[in-house]
């Protein structure tokens, strides 16, 4: 049916200039050649041609009323000579509000619309030119930044390699030091053993008993007193507390002093069980023991020296490894195909909005500081979250400071093309959900350049 009518249109009335049909674009004129009847564009119905634009909706698709507000699904074409043509919903025809800059939508209303297309066109052209300039400039800057990015990337890679080399060297050194410390410890142990080897078990025990007794007997009078117990003995579970006199007396078997014999049969047992009381600072006790032998002293010093050296190397090794992992982490972030976003890392950008100062540190975090001075995290680097077409158009920062009603603060950063890199706006449309507009040359895309302005001139 549709084909049939189309043929009729072409052959019968095809090139006769029809009366102007309001609200259609030139590409639709072929559907509105004046004749006896009109076929709704969706093919659903044929109506007399007088019913086109007669302010009553006959076609389901609204095609019979392109120039009136009669059809709920209709649309009206603003020619907008001098500016951009566009469609508006039919409901905006004759509603008293000027929508088309050529005023064509308000042909039967009280609205006094001016034709503003020429001015708008001028503005649009100026705007587009400005955009173009920005884009050109931006793309040049972007090229530089890409080059810098590549260099930076290589630099970081080199840095990583250097660090890894340092780490390897340190690893070797570390093993050497471990070996040396082990050796020193072994030597010290041997010396200690040799020192004790000559004595029988009993004597060694006695020696140990007597040396412990000597240790407790601070004034060397051959007898341990309450004060001496208080000074040297402490509770296993509460080392800070000084024993009371009663407790000390109890340890001394109920008396106020104790000789070596009594010590060996009473307090020594308690001390060796070690579940209630112990001697304070056992190290110095041991030191006291070995302190008597010069060989042992030398071995001990050597072991300590090697331990200190090993610790230093271990620390250095850890530091380098941390640096390596930080750098690796940094390098695993997607900085765009040409590493063009890499330069943003380690930078921060600030913007003051009302009483708040916002700071965006790309690939790191977003913060907000009030004029009162408290700083709040609005999110840590999450991911790129742009469209599938251009995933680098948006960043998300998540898991900021927790929110009052659950959840945590987050920020979505939209990247737009500009000649400078700067934070342009910050909004909080819903509580704890921030959106930022971040301008940078690296967001400039060559495709933008194809978008121009078409006017029906």
């Amino acid at each position: 049916m549709r084909l049939h009518v189309f043929i009729v249109a072409v052959f019968c009335c095809g090139f006769v200039d029809s009366r102007k049909i309001r609200g259609i674009s030139s590409s639709y004129k072929r559907f509105y050649k004046e004749k006896k009847s009109f076929l709704c564009i969706d093919g659903s119905k044929i109506i007399p041609f007088e019913q086109v634009n007669d302010d009553y909706c006959d076609c389901e698709d609204g095609s019979d009323e392109p120039g009136t507000s009669a059809c709920p699904r209709g649309r009206f074409y603003c020619t907008n000579l001098g500016f951009r043509p566009h469609y508006i919903p039919s409901s905006r025809v004759n509603d008293g509000i000027c929508d088309c800059c050529d005023a064509s939508d308000e042909y039967n209303s009280h609205a006094r619309c001016q034709n503003t297309c020429w001015n708008l066109g001028q503005q649009e052209r100026a705007y587009v030119e400005g955009q173009m300039r920005t884009l050109d400039e931006g793309l040049q800057l972007k090229q530089q930044l890409i080059e810098e990015g590549v260099l930076l990337w290589r630099e970081k890679q080199a840095q990583l390699r250097d660090l890894q080399q340092v780490a390897e060297d340190l690893q070797i050194k570390l093993e050497e030091h471990r070996r040396r410390k082990h050796e020193a410890d072994r030597l010290k142990e041997q010396t200690l053993k040799a020192l004790e080897a000559g004595d029988s078990d009993l004597k060694r025990q006695n020696g140990t008993v007597s040396s412990t007794f000597k240790l407790l007997d601070s004034n060397k009078d051959g007898s341990i007193t309450v004060e001496e117990v208080q000074a040297r003995v402490t509770l296993v579970h509460d080392e800070e507390r000084i024993l009371s006199e009663d407790e000390a007396v109890a340890l001394l078997g109920g008396g106020h002093q104790m000789d070596l014999f009594k010590f060996q049969h009473m307090l020594w047992d308690i001390l060796t069980r070690g579940d209630k009381v112990k001697i304070k600072d056992t190290h110095s006790a041991a030191g006291g023991l070995v302190g008597e032998d010069p060989h042992l002293q030398a071995a001990d010093r050597a072991a300590e020296w090697e331990a200190t050296n090993l610790k230093k190397v271990e620390e250095a090794y850890d530091t380098v490894n941390t640096e390596i992992s930080d750098l690796q982490k940094l390098l695993t972030i997607d900085y765009g195909p040409d590493w063009e976003f890499l330069f943003l890392n380690s930078q921060c950008y600030k913007l003051k909005v009302y009483e708040y100062t916002y700071t965006l540190c790309p690939f790191n975090q977003v913060t907000q500081k009030s004029s009162a001075g408290t700083e709040v995290s609005l999110g840590k680097w999450g991911m790129w979250a742009g469209t599938p077409k251009d995933q680098y158009s948006q960043m998300v920062y998540e898991n900021g400071e927790p929110c009052w009603q659950g959840g945590s603060r987050s920020t979505t950063v939209t990247l737009t093309c500009g000649t400078e890199t700067a934070l342009r706006s910050v909004k909080e449309p819903s509580k704890c959900q921030y959106i930022m507009d971040f301008q940078t040359p690296v967001a400039c895309q060559p495709v933008l350049k194809q978008r121009g302005i078409h006017s029906e001139l």
């Binding site: 009669a70 919903p89 409901s91 509000i97 449309p429 819903s430 509580k431």
Partner: protein, 863 residues
């Protein structure tokens, strides 16, 4: 809005979202309620002293005495025009005057003659004038029975629960008594009456209520023989039909800012209308208890708890009592002043109540359209972006709202100088699209330099103006003048929130009862505070336009008579399915007591709705009188286009349906403005008898359903089951535009749904949509009738003058048969043929473009 303080507490204490019941009193925690509820029926100490009776043409007076304490009361009884009876009871000689509610009645109700029919030592029988209606006054104990023929319509004090706590002097000790001898004597006598805790002082959660006047409660019981269904006494988040209260607290009327209110319980909410309707198939009657103090209402029924089978058994065996509902009203102070509305139909009740307290104000048409609100639209740019979003997604809206954050530090009537630096530019931008704005103005004033009553609210420390004073209300109204309210324009309207009043650090989050308003205590006037705030605000909006423009004021707190000043909403609800459901009975209840302009926050205020819930809420809200989406500050954005194109389309469709029906909504509001009939009605109001003979048409598919059957209507996400009753004619405007004002001159489509007699009637009301000029008879009011295959439009207001550019573009007749010819006749005598289209499968006849002006007489004949 919610209370920050309580919010904070609730989060800290429970972490869950639910009302903290401990913040609000139970009857047991309210000393007077506990005291009164303890009284047992059948022990009334009151006796009518018939020898004191005086009967003038319009008034009966009679003294009552309390045999226990000898205190005398004065009973006044009036027969009022329109089938009402007024009963007033006060102390005969109160120590000082007791509060009588002013400003709620629109005038002193006109009376009708009373006459004495008979009298003996047991009582008096009076004629109420019409239809053999009588009042029987029984002397011992005192009771009143209102009869019609042999039928008792209502009894007062039949259970003997009348109580009247007389004012007394505080008795400390005889030797300290520095009063006159007489008063001392009196005080001593009173001491013999039981002194109970809470009579002279009461403490609730660290708040002390010093009661300088002592106990002053009043109480009275009412019985309705033959009645099983009672309705009204909003505001409660409960079923439409009121429940019996035997096993719990009474329904409470005490305007409160209840944080995260719970459903299905009798707790008080933001507003109070002390009006109850009693309905049976034979008759509808009502009680209006004119008292603004804290009030509790107990309901019991002799059939409650009986199963259907039990009732059936009663019927079959002819046994048992007639069903009866007993109610009992208890108020903390004031007097007993009751209007007994005797119906007999629901519509009679509405007109009776309207004759006392006035009708719903006639809103500007735009206020019936869609409102977009959120706490908060952050700044002017935000407003502009949301406004543009509606155009981009082709969704109409009329009002965008600003909550408290738009102000300069919560100082109302001001603007945040950074975020709303140029409010007039913003308002002009909206005006250019024929749209409007509402800004919040709460009734507390930030304390910058100290004030009278101070409490905490949004601004921190705040003063609460005494709105009960006429001069204060005048001052408040003057603040809305364009030169006072800087940055305001004629498309800026007002929202009164927090006017219970909400006082964050007050007892039950409101004002102390012993705060004073001139010579009265807050106790006496509490439930009227919000009423006065809205009154003063509406007056301000009227005055700023020199009395030309209709105001639009939304209020959260309300009282009897609040309908005269604007709209109410159901307060801070939540994004839950149950809250969507409760919005229906809550608004129905309000409509029954005169407040038709009611809505609930679409989407729910607290919490975040699922997309499905949000869509369903739009679909429901589109068919409720006040249609506004609103959201809490802490919830994510929910403008209609944020949920994917499919859901945007569903919401768009719901909002568009609202707009197509605006002519009908407007006509309904015109109707309620004149009759008091609710716009949103329970079916029993419309069809008190048999609804079985009706047919109903699905408004979307035109599918016809016969009455008297149960139907399961399958739905999808896009369905809104709406039906037009056969016999009705509904005007629509199908050209949905950006805002209702843009649709002003658009043509009408009439939907004529035929009943089984192939007839239908409807109305069409048109005026300028925003001024009071309708009072000057500038409107079009027409009756549309379809009968005998002729559809005609006749003028219902020949003395009114108005012209419209709107015409009739389409007439859709549902349930029609195919005509051979359709002829239009206009008053100039011209006849013309009208094209038509007939859909035989659905029996739908569509007349194409008859084209006559909507304001003229015309007839269309189907042949």
């Amino acid at each position: 809005m919610a209370t920050v303080l309580v919010l904070w507490l609730a989060v800290c204490l429970s972490g869950t979202l639910a009302v903290d019941k401990g913040n609000f009193k139970t009857c047991d925690q309210s000393a007077f309620c506990k005291r009164q509820r303890a009284l047992k029926p059948g022990e009334s100490p009151y006796r009518a002293l018939l020898e004191t009776m005086e009967l003038t043409k319009t008034r009966l007076t009679l003294q009552l005495t309390n045999d226990n304490n000898k205190v005398r009361l004065l009973l006044e009884l009036y027969r009022l025009q329109g089938n009402m009876t007024r009963v007033k009871i006060n102390e005969l000689k109160p120590l000082k005057p007791r509060y009588e509610v002013p400003d709620v009645l629109i005038r002193e109700p006109p009376t009708e003659p009373l006459s004495l029919l008979s009298q003996d030592e047991n009582g008096v029988v009076l004629s109420l004038g019409v239809e053999s209606q009588r009042v029987i006054v029984s002397a011992r104990p005192f009771r009143l029975d209102i009869m019609e023929g042999r039928e008792v319509l209502m009894s007062l004090n039949s259970r003997g629960l009348l109580a009247f706590e007389h004012l007394r002097i505080v008795y400390i000790a005889l030797n300290l008594c520095q009063c006159s001898l007489f008063a001392c004597q009196k005080a001593k006598e009173e001491e013999e009456e039981k002194e109970e805790e809470g009579m002279w002082e009461e403490t609730f959660k660290s708040h002390s209520d010093g009661k300088p006047n002592g106990p002053s409660a009043i109480s009275l019981d009412f019985s309705w023989p033959g009645v099983e269904h009672v309705y009204g006494i909003p505001e409660h988040a409960d079923t439409l039909r009121l429940k019996t209260t035997d096993n719990g607290d009474p329904y409470r009327l005490y305007n409160l800012d209840v944080f995260q209110y719970e459903l299905y319980n009798p707790m008080a909410l933001y507003g109070a209308v002390p009006v109850m309707l009693a309905h049976s198939a034979q008759r509808t009657t009502g009680i209006f208890w004119l008292n603004a103090a804290e009030t509790w209402v107990d309901i019991s029924s002799n059939t409650a708890g009986k199963t259907v089978f039990g009732k059936m058994l009663d019927y079959v065996q002819g046994s048992s009592e007639i069903p009866q509902t007993d109610v009992r009203w208890i108020s903390e102070s004031g007097i007993i002043d009751v209007f007994i509305m005797l119906g007999p139909t629901p519509k009679d009740i509405f007109s009776q109540y309207a004759s006392l307290t006035g009708t719903q104000s006639f809103p500007p048409l735009a206020a019936l359209a869609y409102h977009q609100c959120r706490w908060n639209y952050n700044d002017q740019e935000d407003v502009q972006t949301v406004d543009a979003g509606f155009d981009e997604h082709d969704i109409p809206y009329d009002f965008i709202w600003l909550d408290i954050e738009h102000t300069d530090g919560k100082r109302y009537f001001t603007w945040d100088q950074h975020k709303f630096a140029t409010p007039k530019d913003m308002l002009q931008g909206l005006m250019d699209k024929k749209r409007k704005m509402v800004a919040i103005v709460d009734p507390h004033i930030k304390v910058d330099n100290g004030g009278d009553y101070e409490g905490w609210c949004w601004p921190g420390s705040a003063g609460y103006p005494d709105f009960t004073r006429a001069d204060m209300r005048d001052w408040w109204a003057s603040q809305f003048a364009y030169d006072q309210y800087e940055g305001s324009m004629e498309n800026l309207y007002t929202w009164n929130d927090m006017n219970e009043p909400s006082v964050f650090n007050g007892p039950e989050v409101t004002m102390h009862k012993d705060a004073v308003h001139g010579e009265w205590e807050h106790r006496d006037v509490h439930n009227m505070y919000g009423f006065y705030v809205q009154m003063a605000t509406a007056e301000g909006l009227i005055q700023r336009s020199g009395g030309v423009e209709r105001p639009f004021v939304l209020t959260r707190a309300f009282f009897a008579g609040s309908q005269r000043y604007g709209a109410v909403w159901t307060g801070d609800n939540a994004a839950e399915w149950d809250h969507l459901k409760i919005s229906i009975p809550m608004c129905l209840s309000l409509g029954l007591v005169g407040i038709s302009f009611c809505g609930a926050d679409v989407g729910g205020f607290f919490k975040t709705p699922s997309t499905e819930l949000l869509v369903r809420w739009y679909q429901t809200g589109a068919y409720q009188p006040f249609f506004r989406a609103h959201a809490h500050l802490d919830t994510p954005r929910r403008e209609p286009w944020l949920f994917g194109p499919e859901n945007t389309a569903l919401i768009r469709e719901a909002v568009r349906q609202r707009y197509t029906l605006l002519p009908y909504w407007y006509q309904q509001f015109y109707n309620t403005h004149h009759t008091g009939e609710p716009v949103m009605r329970p079916l029993w109001v419309e069809y008190p008898q048999d609804p079985a003979t009706f047919v109903w048409f699905d408004v979307h598919t035109f599918q016809k359903h016969n009455g008297a059957q149960n139907l399961y209507i399958p739905v999808t996400m896009s369905s809104i089951p709406v039906f037009q009753r056969g016999g009705s004619i509904i005007p629509r405007k199908l050209r949905v535009r950006r805002s209702s004002t843009c649709m002003e001159h658009d043509p009408y489509t009439l939907h004529v749904a035929l009943n089984l007699q192939r007839a239908a009637v409807g109305e069409l009301y048109i005026d300028d949509g925003h001024t009071f000029n309708y009072d000057k008879k500038e409107f079009i009011y027409r009756r549309l009738t379809f009968a005998n295959n002729i559809l005609s439009s006749v003028n219902l207001a020949p003395d009114a003058q108005f012209s419209t550019r709107s015409w009739i573009e389409r007439i859709v007749i549902l349930g029609a048969s195919k005509p051979s010819k359709v002829t239009l006749k206009t008053p100039d005598g011209q006849e013309s043929q009208v094209e038509f289209d007939f859909d035989a499968s659905m029996s739908v006849l569509t007349l194409r473009k008859p084209g006559m002006n909507a304001g003229l007489d015309w007839t269309i004949a189907l042949q």
